[in-house]
């Protein structure tokens, strides 16, 4: 297999990605849609119940298979770089997909609904354990800000270094500023590492 990034005349851009995570109903697809230049797209991967890729169809009829849907959007940065935003699958059992999503990602936004804080714990654990930069964005549904940033930080037991911001996932500018905060956080982490 020859991998070529150009054929002499045409080139392909570099792709980067950001993961939008959080529990069910926290506004992941809404946030993807509010900043994406295209309506969010959906793609499906076929998995066995064991949560691993199906790589052989022999005997598959007898196995429980399921599809996992991924919502994603796109922001063309310039002619050489394109950014993709992937919402994580709602069900936490699809950890296999999370690994593929997180590999090489700039980082993650963990969306939090303060009415269901516990639904964010698995996402936070995932990115903490893998050392992937993330920010916590409290999605203020219907303008309802029930808790302060400090209260959320305390309730989620977050390190001081992890940014916590309030946002409205429906609002383009608000979602944009969450992404800007995440990219800056990733840059700071990169500089701290050298």
């Amino acid at each position: 297999m020859v991998f070529v990034g150009s054929d002499g005349r045409l080139t392909v851009p570099t792709a980067v990605k950001i993961v939008i995570a959080g529990g069910f109903g926290t506004g992941k697809t809404t946030m993807v849609g509010s900043v994406s230049e295209i309506p969010p797209l959906k793609t499906e991967e076929l998995l066995t119940e064991a949560g691993v890729h199906v790589d052989d169809l022999a005997g598959i009829e007898g196995k429980d298979t399921t599809t996992v849907a991924l919502d994603f959007g796109r922001i063309t940065i310039n002619t050489k770089v394109v950014l993709y935003l992937f919402g994580t699958p709602g069900q936490n059992r699809f950890w296999f997909m999370w690994d593929e999503l997180a590999t090489g990602a700039i980082g993650a936004v963990v969306l939090v609904d303060t009415r269901r804080l516990d639904s964010s714990f698995p996402s936070i654990d995932f990115f903490e354990h893998r050392g992937i930069p993330f920010v916590v964005a409290v999605n203020c549904f219907d303008g309802a800000q029930l808790y302060t940033v400090d209260e959320v930080r305390h309730a989620l037991d977050l390190d001081d270094g992890i940014p916590v911001v309030l946002c409205d996932a429906r609002d383009r500018e608000s979602s944009k500023s969450v992404l800007v905060g995440l990219i800056q956080h990733s840059m700071n982490r990169l500089e701290a590492a050298v």
């Binding site: 297999m1 991998f3 070529v4 990034g5 150009s6 054929d7 002499g8 005349r9 045409l10 392909v12 851009p13 570099t14 792709a15 980067v16 990605k17 900043v35 230049e37 797209l41 959906k42 793609t43 499906e44 991967e45 076929l46 890729h53 199906v54 790589d55 052989d56 169809l57 599809t67 991924l70 994603f72 796109r74 922001i75 063309t76 940065i77 310039n78 050489k80 770089v81 394109v82 950014l83 993709y84 992937f86 593929e100 999503l101 590999t103 090489g104 990602a105 700039i106 944009k176 992404l179 800007v180 990219i183 800056q184 990733s186 840059m187 990169l190 500089e191």
Partner: protein
């Protein structure tokens, strides 16, 4: 009965060709490094397409501009594993060019470009 009512095959009935028939049961693409965001694009030196299947040709048309593997799968409305097999056929033929690196953690310059780009939208 009108002619239209004779059509049992419509969108609700699903695709006429089952996804895995398109790839003749293959689920292991020859190109192992196709990830969700890997960029693919039709080559400007594409070979004669008459021997290609409809799906291969649809991919060639979609990839007139660079797209990710995930976008091709979404626009073609087939599972990722199927589109990876079809794409690897086209890459082997030299009809599609592909980003030559696995997803890597972006360096500072790339992050700065992304930061500027997101600020500008």
């Amino acid at each position: 009965m009108t002619a239209r009512e004779d059509w049992w095959y419509d969108e609700a009935a699903g695709p006429l060709v089952r996804p895995y028939a398109m790839v003749r049961g293959r689920t292991r693409p020859n190109a192992p490094d196709l990830h969700l965001v890997t960029q693919v694009r039709a080559s400007s030196f594409a070979s004669d397409q008459t021997s290609l299947t409809v799906e291969h040709r649809e991919i060639m048309a979609l990839c007139a501009r660079p797209l990710s593997v995930a976008e091709v799968a979404a626009y073609l409305d087939v599972p990722l594993v199927v589109v990876k097999v079809l794409l690897s056929d086209l890459i082997e033929r030299g009809d599609v060019i592909v980003q030559n690196s696995s997803p890597q953690i972006p360096d500072r310059d790339l992050l700065q470009a992304v930061l500027d780009g997101v600020r500008g939208i």
